[in-house]
């Protein structure tokens, strides 16, 4: 079980996460949605240890989160200039009991491992970062907008890879701006609003999710368009 209690994160005077309590079942894919600026990335960054919260506790199986049990794919992963894809993957250690052959993964995602990362496209960089995370094989995997910049084929492959990882016991938390990518993949979708988890949906209830999240937004947009056109 992943449990977050009384989490508070602020940037200066702007409170992004407000006394958040959140419990997540292990071995599932959880979707995290929210409108722009709702704090999705902030929440994931605090879980991975990148951001230090002002207050609150983040626990995994009853103990504090450590880098050994969590890994995160950032929206725009950063790579070191002048090294190749294979060399980047060499840096990461896979757990002793897992089989990881870099070339198989590179072939699966059509990433040219011997090329310098500097020459990779946005999609290729994202795929390489994903392979790195798969190599680490940590129990909890956080993916911030993993489908951004991916081509159609790679998106399908990623979906299959995520399902396979979950079947092996990993817990995945995934954010996306495109709701449809989550409804077909996740078990639960959590709606983050004003710094708290406002609703938890069963992913099959896509109509309800759509209505809840976008009803207010759509009304606002309609009004604005009325004024412009």
């Amino acid at each position: 079980m992943i449990s977050i209690n009384g989490l508070n994160i602020a940037y200066g005077s702007h409170q992004v996460i407000v006394d958040l309590n959140w419990e997540l079942q292990e071995g599932l894919i959880h979707g995290l949605v929210g409108l722009n600026g709702s704090g999705k990335t902030t929440l994931l960054q605090s879980m991975s240890g990148i951001l230090k919260p002002q207050a609150g506790s983040l626990n995994f199986r009853g103990e504090k989160f450590t880098p050994q049990n969590i890994s995160m794919l950032e929206t725009e992963p950063y790579f070191y200039k002048g090294i190749t894809g294979v060399e980047y993957l060499h840096l990461f250690k896979s757990p002793g009991n897992t089989r990881f052959i870099a070339q198989e993964w590179l072939d699966l995602f059509s990433v040219p491992g011997d090329e310098l990362i500097d020459n990779y496209s946005t999609g290729m960089r994202k795929k390489l970062a994903l392979i790195g995370i798969c190599k680490l094989s940590r129990p909890v995997i956080l993916l911030d907008e993993p489908f951004n910049g991916l081509d159609l084929e790679s998106s399908r492959i990623l979906t299959s890879v995520l399902k396979k990882l979950v079947s092996k016991g990993h817990t995945i938390i995934i954010t996306s701006h495109i709701l449809e990518t989550l409804t077909g993949l996740c078990t639960y979708i959590h709606y983050l609003r004003n710094g708290v988890i406002a609703n938890v949906f069963n992913a099959e209830d896509s109509a309800l999710i759509d209505k809840t999240i976008f009803a207010e937004l759509d009304a606002g947009i309609e009004k604005k368009i009325e004024g412009i056109l």
Binding site: Y80, G82, I83, E87
Partner: protein, 315 residues
């Protein structure tokens, strides 16, 4: 079109000069003037000097093979060949002019067909995107040197070769090793990602120690042929080589500590390079010698503090 490209190059040069700041701009300008003065002095009045001509050819060839804008030039110019010729011709002009003053016109006129031939080389065939030759021998965990050696292209292997060939001259090999170490200062400007640091799975102090060890070993293996050549000719002054190696180890430890003292995820930080450069000059100006040690002590504490938030869980 050629004139437009030359104007762009000139504007780029001025922009780079401005971004360097007064100290580095002065250093660079002094370096260029000194290099031209040495070139002028080397040119004899009577016998032809092919060596300096070959040096310029090698320099232009290195620029042509390592430049990253071949695709852009081919895109905007129907005759990229003339763009290359005009740029390299402009670059070589000053050398040709200086050679005229020393009656070396004949050797320098050989530059013109050499430049024309270099401009014809299609770099797409050679390809500069694959991992370099020297980079393959450096461990993945030393990505600073892997990346740095690739970015300097042929320069470091060329310096190693010069170091071996110039070994009979007193101090020449050690000065070349010093230049290689000075070049490596820029390798420490690029901050890696959090994930790359965490991949070591070590606490902060052990991480710094391991990193320094790998970097010292890589550098020493890199200059080993030059050091051996120096020892062959100056075995009676073995202590000089040993002192130099000690100087290098302290400096590399200082480079590593200074990098992580200011490290930020994916950020380039050049602020430490100035102090590291001053520390390097200590080899020639003895009162500057303590700077790398002071730097090392000061930055080591800062670096362990900076890395602690990332690596504390590996304690």
């Amino acid at each position: 079109m050629q004139l437009a490209f030359l104007k762009i190059r000139w504007a780029q040069f001025l922009r780079e000069l401005k971004s360097l700041g007064l100290f580095y701009a002065f250093l660079l300008t002094s370096g260029i003037v000194a290099a031209l003065w040495i070139f002028y002095q080397v040119q004899g009045k009577t016998e032809p000097r092919y060596g300096s001509m070959l040096f310029i050819v090698a320099l232009i060839l290195s620029i042509h093979l390592n430049r990253k804008d071949h695709r852009f030039i081919r895109l905007v110019s129907e005759q990229p060949y003339f763009v290359y010729i005009s740029e390299y011709g402009f670059l070589a002009f000053v050398f040709i002019f200086l050679s005229f003053l020393k009656s070396q016109a004949f050797t320098m006129f050989l530059l013109i067909p050499a430049i024309a031939t270099i401009s014809l080389i299609n770099v797409r065939v050679i390809g500069n995107t694959k991992s370099g030759f020297m980079g393959r021998f450096i461990p993945a965990s030393n990505y600073e040197w892997k990346s740095g050696i690739r970015s300097t292209g042929w320069f470091i292997p060329f310096l190693i070769l010069c170091g071996i060939l110039l070994a009979p001259l007193p101090f020449a090999s050690l000065v070349i090793c010093w230049i290689i170490l000075a070049l490596s200062i820029s390798f420490y400007e690029q901050g890696e990602s959090r994930e790359m640091i965490q991949s070591f799975m070590l606490p902060a102090r052990k991480f710094l120690l391991q990193k320094t060890g790998i970097h010292v070993l890589t550098f020493l293996l890199c200059i080993l042929p030059v050091l051996i050549a120096n020892f062959v000719f100056f075995s009676d002054k073995w202590w000089l080589g040993l002192s130099f190696v000690l100087f290098c180890i302290i400096n590399i430890a200082s480079f590593v500590a200074s990098k992580y003292a200011v490290w930020q995820h994916g950020q380039i930080n050049k602020s430490q390079s100035v102090l590291n450069s001053i520390g390097m000059i200590g080899l020639f100006i003895p009162f500057l010698l303590p700077i790398p040690i002071v730097n090392l002590v000061r930055n080591y504490r800062k670096a362990t503090h900076n890395l602690r938030t990332l690596l504390n869980d590996f304690n």
